[in-house]
Assembly symmetry: C2
Homo-oligomer: 437 residues x 2
C-alpha cells in the first residue's frame, strides 16, 4: 500500500474528547472517527487491526469445535419478555418500535435468540453437546460512553453458547472455552489472567473474567503474584484431554476483580498478593437451565424423558480488544503493535521522493516485499522526514525500513525495530532478508 | 466436517411462510431461520455461502483500488436532516430514540455518514480521487418483507462511494465500479445485465441496475437479445485502460427495467427484443454534488478555490445474492450451487455406517480430501440412504461421492455431478483424483 493513496487521516493534535491513551492514539493514528457518542467508524488502518483480531478469535473458536452462525442485530422483544430480561435490562437496552408498532430491540447479547434457534432445531440428547458462536455488532446504550472503543455503545463481540445434557457435560464445555480464551489471548500477544467474577445480568452459578494488566486499566484487581509470572498460553493443551486439572492450576490461587476482592484473603496472603490495574477482555458464564426452561429448549433423553439443556455463554469483546491492546502496548510516540495484530508488518520510509536513487531503491524494496506477501506500507508522500518519522512511530508497525539519499549512495539503509527501539545501519539486501524472514 | 456433528437442521416439509423457491430452499436446507418478519439468523451452512459471496465481492473492490472501511449501523439523525433525507425517507427508515432522547436511526444506506467522514479528513484536490467502501448490515423497514433474504429488513450490503474533483473524473470512477460489478458477477458464476435505471431516493443524474435473469424474478425486464448471448465477464479488462468504450459496448443496446421500459423502442426492435423476469443484484449512481454541498465536503482546488466534490454511490446486496443465486440455479430436488460459492465442494455419503469396509473407505476418503484442503462434508449419520440422498441434493454441493457396501467390495464408488446430473461408477482412486483436481 502506498501512503500517498491510503486513506490515513492522522492528527497532529491530541483530540480533546479522548480521556484515555488508546482512544487518543486511535483517533490520532486515523484508525477511527466518532460519528455519535460511543459510536465509531473504522477507517482502513483501524479496520485492518479489527479484522486481524477477529480472525484470531475465530480461528481458535473453530479449533475448539465451535460452529459459527450469525444472528441479526435487531431482535423481537417477545423472547426477552419470555426470559424475564426485557424489564430487567433497563435503559442500557436500545428499544425500538417498528412501523407496525412491534417492540424490537438492538441486541446487547444473544442468550434468548440462540436458545430459540436451538429449541427449534435440536430434539434429541444424541445431538448434544452443541457449541455455537457468532461475531456480530451489539449495542448497549451506556449512560456515559467513554474510553473510545473500550466502552462504546456499538461494539463487536464474539459471543458463544453451549448446550449440554447435564451439568458435568456443561462443565466440560465451560472448560473448553476457558482454555480457548487463554489460547486466543496468547495468539494476540496478550497475557490475560482468569479471575472469579460476578455473573451480573446474565445470571448463573459460575463465571470467570479474563483481565490484562495495564497501568491505565479501568479497575483495580488483586491476585497472587504467581499469576504474573505463570505461563498461561496453553500452547500444549489438547481440547480432548481432561481439562479440569489444567483449569484448577490456573484458578487455585487468589485472583479477584474489583467487586470480588476479599481483604481477609489479601491480608493472609501478605507479600504474595499483588494489586494492579486491569482491563476485562473476556467473560464466561455457566448458568444451567435459566434460559432453556423459559424458552423451551428441551431435548428427549435416553428414556424419552424431556430434559431442559444446561447452558453457558462466553464473550470476547473484539472491538474492545483493539483499545485494550493499545493500552497494554504503547509509548509516548504512539502505538506499538504486537506482531500478530499489526496492520502492516513493515513501514517503508522514503526520506526524499525527489531523489532518484532513493526512490528507485524504495520502489524496488516495496515491490520485493509486496510480491513476497509481506504487508508493507510505503510512505511515498511529499513530506518532511520529521513528519514521516512521527506518523510511522504513531501507527506503530513492528518494523521501519528507512531509506535516505545519503545512505543509499553506499547501499545502506536503516532498519528500526519499533518494539525494542533498536536501530541498525545495514545494507538494503540484509534488511530485506531480515524482513522476508 | 462430519454431518453427525454439524448444525444442519434440514426440514422435510415445505415451510408455509415461504412464497418463493429460494426462501423455501434456504429454510429447508437449514441455511437460515427467521427470528422476526424479514429478519434472519444465518446457520452454519448459510453463513458459509454468505461469507464466500462477501469475499468475492471484497476481492474485486480491492482489485479496483477501493479502500475498505466500516461504518456503524446506528447513525445520528442530524446528518440526515442536513441532507434533507430524514423527512424524505418515510417509514422505511427505522428511527430510534436513545436514552438521552437523541434522534438516531439504523442506516438504510450511508451517503451522509461517508460524506461526513470525507469532509473531516480530506482537504486538497491532490488527495482525490478517493474510493471508499464497506460491507455492513443495513435496515429498511419494508412494509411487507417477503422473498426471504431477497427482500428482508436487515440485510448485508456492500456500499461504496466515490469522491472526485470534477464530473469527468467522477465518470471514470463510475466506470470502474461498472466494470468491477461485471467482474464480480462473473466470479460468482452469474451473468448480470446492466440496465438504465431510476435514481430513486438516492437522487442524481445517472444510474444503472444489474439484473440476473431467473424465471422467478421479481420484475419483468426487456432487452435486446444480444445481451443474452454477450460475454459480460470483463475478464481481460484492466482498470487503468480507457473504460468508456467498454461501457459503451455494454450499454448501447436497449435494456430496461420494469419502470424504464419504452413500448415505442420495443416495437421498433421487433424480433430483437426479449422480455424476461429479472432480479436486481446491484445498483450504481452518479449524483454529483447533492450530498457534498449540503454536508460541506469541499476541497481546495489548484488555485486555492473551494470545490464541492463530485460523488457517486455503488451497492451490491450481499445477502440478497444468496437468494438470487438460488433463484437462478436450482431444480425440483434442491439447490445447485455454482462452484465459486458452494458451501462445500464435496458431499461424501456413507450408505451404511455399520458396514466396516464401507466406513473404513469413507474415513480414508474424508481424511484424504480434508487434508488436501478440499471442503468436504461427510454424511456419517445413522440414516436411510434415501434420506441421505435427499439432504445432499437439497444442499446442492457440486459433487457427491457415494460409497456403499456392495460397490466397495470391488473398490468402486459413485461420483455424481450435481450440476450436470451425471453419475459414474468408478474406482475410489479415480474419484479422489478427480475431486482433488
Amino acid at each position: 500500500m502506498r501512503l500517498s493513496k491510503y486513506f490515513l487521516p492522522t492528527l497532529k493534535e491530541n483530540p480533546g474528547e479522548a480521556q484515555v491513551i488508546s482512544h487518543r492514539l486511535m483517533l490520532r493514528a486515523g484508525m477511527i472517527r466518532q460519528s455519535s457518542a460511543g459510536i465509531y467508524s473504522w477507517l482502513p488502518l483501524g479496520l485492518r487491526v479489527l479484522k486481524k483480531i477477529e480472525a484470531i478469535v475465530r480461528e481458535e473458536q473453530n479449533s475448539m469445535g465451535n460452529q459459527e452462525i450469525l444472528m441479526p442485530t435487531i431482535q423481537p422483544a417477545d423472547i426477552w419478555r419470555k426470559s424475564g430480561r426485557y424489564d430487567d435490562y433497563g435503559p442500557e437496552m436500545l428499544r425500538i418500535i417498528d412501523r407496525h408498532e412491534r417492540d424490537m430491540l438492538y441486541g446487547p447479547t444473544n442468550e434468548e435468540l440462540v436458545t430459540e434457534i436451538f429449541a427449534n432445531s435440536i430434539r434429541s440428547y444424541k445431538d448434544l453437546p452443541q457449541l455455537l458462536y457468532h461475531i456480530q455488532w451489539k449495542f448497549r446504550d451506556e449512560i456515559r460512553p467513554r474510553f473510545g472503543v473500550m466502552r462504546g455503545r456499538e461494539f463487536l463481540m464474539k459471543d458463544a453458547y453451549s448446550f449440554d445434557i447435564n451439568s458435568e457435560e456443561a462443565r466440560c464445555s465451560y472448560n473448553k472455552y476457558f482454555i480457548a480464551y487463554l489460547k486466543t489471548y496468547a495468539s494476540l500477544g496478550l497475557k490475560a489472567i482468569p479471575m472469579t467474577a460476578d455473573t451480573g445480568p446474565i445470571g448463573g452459578n459460575m463465571s470467570h473474567e479474563f483481565l490484562i494488566i495495564a497501568d491505565t486499566g479501568e479497575s483495580e484487581i488483586a491476585c497472587h503474584r504467581q499469576y504474573l509470572e505463570m505461563d498461561l498460553s496453553c500452547q500444549d493443551i489438547d481440547y480432548n484431554q481432561d481439562l479440569q486439572p489444567v483449569i484448577h492450576r490456573y484458578t487455585e490461587k487468589y485472583a479477584a476483580t474489583d467487586d470480588k476482592r476479599d481483604p481477609a484473603i489479601e491480608k493472609a496472603l501478605g507479600d504474595d498478593v499483588r494489586t494492579a490495574r486491569g482491563i476485562e477482555v473476556g467473560h464466561i458464564f455457566y448458568f444451567g437451565t435459566k434460559y432453556s426452561e423459559k424458552l423451551g429448549a428441551k431435548v428427549s433423553g435416553p428414556k424419552g424423558e424431556e430434559i431442559a439443556v444446561e447452558m453457558g455463554s462466553y464473550g470476547i469483546g473484539v472491538s474492545r480488544l483493539v483499545g485494550a491492546i493499545i493500552e497494554a502496548s504503547h509509548d509516548d510516540k504512539g502505538i506499538i503493535w504486537p506482531k500478530a495484530v499489526a496492520p502492516f508488518k513493515v513501514g517503508l520510509i522514503n526520506l526524499n521522493i525527489s531523489d532518484r536513487d532513493c526512490t528507485v531503491a524504495c520502489e524496488k524494496a516495496y515491490n520485493d516485499l509486496d510480491c513476497a506477501g509481506i504487508e508493507v506500507i510505503y510512505d511515498d508522500r511529499e513530506a518532511r522526514p520529521g513528519a514521516k518519522f512521527a506518523d510511522m512511530d504513531l501507527i506503530g508497525l513492528p518494523w521501519q525500513l528507512i531509506v535516505g539519499p545519503r545512505g543509499i549512495k553506499t547501499g545502506s539503509v536503516e532498519l528500526k525495530n519499533r518494539i525494542s527501539g533498536e536501530r541498525e545501519e545495514i545494507s538494503m539486501e540484509s534488511a530485506l532478508t531480515r524482513l522476508l524472514d
